[in-house]
């Protein structure tokens, strides 16, 4: 895999470098600029921690949304156990750290000139972080067009869809059927769809006991916390949940309210389809959605710098990795990336062996929760993040974990936004 010097020279092209050590070398007064696209778990964390660790760096954080609505705990809104207000946060805390928050849609990124463009302005950068979350591949399901999307919701980005799906479930007659369809892994939040089914069932059990949920899982088996979710369905929700593995949703019809798999057509009162996903469009604008299928973004686990575009870092759900696509991971990646960028912009070596950790709680009822926890450590020889031995799931469904699940949410929202 070695190159001769001639090729090595050819690989360099014309342009200008302004980040990293050279920037510092040119003059003390120059402030490095970091632009971050996406003020969710990944991007907002990175913004706060860059400012915390080096207040000489200018940080601009851009999001199309004026406030943050958390996906974690949004399934509790579906069950009527929380409101959307309970799970929303403002960007005021970030502003107090000196982060420039810009509410606007990012429409273009020029990685040669190193400028991010929004509807209203241009933002030059020395280093760019993209944490745009996910986009949905609706076209992989027949009939799931723009019109059908008005009735058949995903509610896999918390916000208006969460409320609308809640209303659909509330206005369903007792004795009705909800069908939930979920994609093959990898998708955002591995335990999320199963948590959703538990909490929808929790609501039905309380309010519409003659109703039922059928879960169509494209995966061959429950993809996360299997024994615990199975226990919840078999003990708490025996009469309310039917789980079907290997049942990929192939087709939907909003007019007829039907869902089709290879094996059956189901007619339902409420259809909730979580479509297959890929890295958010911003990753495409930055030219970093470059894995073999053009779906996720390969990047360094030391700095999260893209493997295809220098000075562009990718964190959160968009990353190509063995990580669970969780808010907790996005938050941890935001810190490692912030740490590395601070070091790079100061001409120092980034921490060569970063560690990230994950804890994902899932509520299974109004007062019981479960978790999965893993610590990942960078292995420089294999160039991969290795799950450390010792991680795992809860011993059982438990009330004390429901308390910790709430505390976790408060903790992480504070860590990201306060």
């Amino acid at each position: 895999m070695s190159m001769q010097r001639r090729d090595f020279l050819k690989a360099s092209s014309a342009g200008l470098i302004a980040a990293g050590l050279p920037l510092r070398a040119h003059g003390a007064a120059v402030k490095a600029k970091v632009v971050i696209v996406g003020a969710g778990f990944g991007g907002a964390t990175a913004a706060k921690y860059i400012r915390k660790w080096d207040s000489n760096i200018e940080v601009t954080l851009i999001d199309r949304e004026a406030k943050f609505v958390s996906c974690p705990l949004s399934n509790l809104v579906l069950a009527g156990l929380k409101t959307l207000d309970d799970i929303s946060r403002t960007y005021d805390g970030l502003k107090s750290h000196g982060v420039n928050v810009v509410v606007d849609e990012v429409t273009a990124i020029d990685t040669d000139k190193r400028v991010v463009k929004t509807a209203k302005g241009s933002f030059p950068y020395d280093r760019l972080i993209v944490s745009p979350g996910i986009d949905f591949l609706f076209d992989q399901i027949e009939g799931y067009d723009a019109k059908a999307q008005e009735t058949i919701l995903h509610a896999w980005k918390a916000g208006p869809q969460t409320l609308k799906l809640r209303q659909q479930i509330e206005s369903m007659p007792d004795g009705g059927l909800i069908v939930v369809g979920m994609p093959l892994a990898p998708y955002r939040c591995p335990p999320g769809p199963y948590e959703r089914v538990c909490l929808m069932a929790n609501y039905l059990k309380r309010a519409k006991p003659k109703s039922k949920i059928i879960m169509l899982d494209a995966n061959p088996d429950v993809a996360s916390k299997k024994p615990l979710f199975m226990k919840a369905w078999n003990t708490l929700y025996k009469d309310w949940v039917e789980y079907r593995p290997n049942s990929k949703v192939l087709k939907v019809s909003a007019d007829k309210m039907t869902v089709s798999t290879e094996f059956e057509d189901l007619k339902a009162n409420v259809i909730n389809i979580i479509p297959p996903q890929r890295a958010g469009h911003v990753a495409e604008l930055a030219g970093v959605r470059t894995d073999s299928n053009g779906v996720w973004c390969p990047a360094s686990f030391v700095t999260y710098e893209s493997k295809s575009k220098p000075f562009v870092h990718v964190i959160g759900d968009s990353l190509l990795s063995n990580f669970p696509k969780s808010g907790h991971m996005a938050n941890n990646m935001g810190k490692v990336c912030a740490n590395a960028i601070v070091e790079l912009l100061n001409g120092r070596e980034p921490n060569p062996v970063p560690i990230v950790a994950n804890t994902c709680y899932s509520a299974v009822s109004e007062d019981k929760a479960i978790h999965v926890a893993t610590v990942f450590r960078y292995d420089p020889v294999k160039d991969q993040m290795t799950a450390q031995p010792g991680g795992g799931i809860s011993a059982d469904l438990s009330e004390v974990e429901a308390v910790y699940a709430e505390a976790w949410a408060e903790g992480i929202w504070g860590d990201v936004f306060s």
Binding site: A14, G15, I17, D112, K335, E349, H371, T374
Partner: protein, 215 residues
């Protein structure tokens, strides 16, 4: 910044080592991170990976060197020690480190980085010896590791929920608790799983971070 110009001079003189295609196993476990190769290089310049040695730390960076200077160098002149004669010995050592560090890059390092390969020479050996003494960026590792706790325990360990705060915790108490979680002596819902992911030495590093926070 004087050091850097010295390094550039050393690099230009030592450039034959950039072109040797042989890849060998890294002679040591130390990984030096090399950022992806810049695509935007000023006209008539080339980006070359160099190791910068400052305050006893070595780190890798891309630097721009006049293309002419590199082009004038005889390609594949093998004995590096002979090629590097003029610069000060410290600079020589640092530049050579670039070559051995690049050899220690993981498989996914850029192709360009792979182009810079190990030079089996006296200078490289000196660099290995020096790099072997490095402890890595311990301070930023500790900072980054402690930050993994903040997701649940609050920024700087200042928790405002049912999860206990870590800010200002006594160092030896923190270490003891983490060891007890790890061994199972102290029961937990989740901490036994996290504790197993860190070494005892890392517990001590994190303990320092928390002990230094005013609660």
């Amino acid at each position: 910044m004087k050091r850097i110009s010295a390094l550039l001079a050393a690099l230009v003189l030592a450039s034959p080592i950039l072109s040797n295609g042989a890849t060998t196993e890294p002679p040591m476990g130390k990984l030096l991170y090399l950022p992806p190769q810049p695509v935007n290089v000023p006209a008539n310049m080339v980006a070359v990976p160099v190791a910068i040695w400052s305050n006893g730390q070595v780190f890798m960076q891309w630097m721009f060197v006049p293309a002419q200077a590199l082009a004038n160098m005889p390609a594949l002149a093998p004995p590096v020690a002979a090629a590097v004669t003029a610069p000060a010995s410290a600079a020589t050592t640092a530049v050579s480190t670039a070559t051995s560090a690049a050899a220690a890059m993981p498989a996914a390092a850029t192709a360009a980085a792979t182009a810079v390969t190990s030079a089996p020479s006296a200078a490289a050996t000196a660099a290995v010896n020096m790099a072997g003494k490095l402890t890595g960026s311990t301070a930023t590792h500790a900072r980054s590791m402690a930050a993994t706790c903040y997701s649940c325990h609050g920024t700087d360990g200042k928790s405002h929920s049912a999860i206990p705060p870590l800010a200002g915790m006594d160092k030896s108490y923190f270490i003891e608790q983490m060891k007890d979680f790890k061994s199972g002596k102290r029961e937990a819902t989740v901490m036994h799983q996290h504790a197993k992911g860190y070494t005892d030495e890392e517990f001590a590093q994190m303990a320092d971070v928390f002990a230094a926070v005013k609660p």
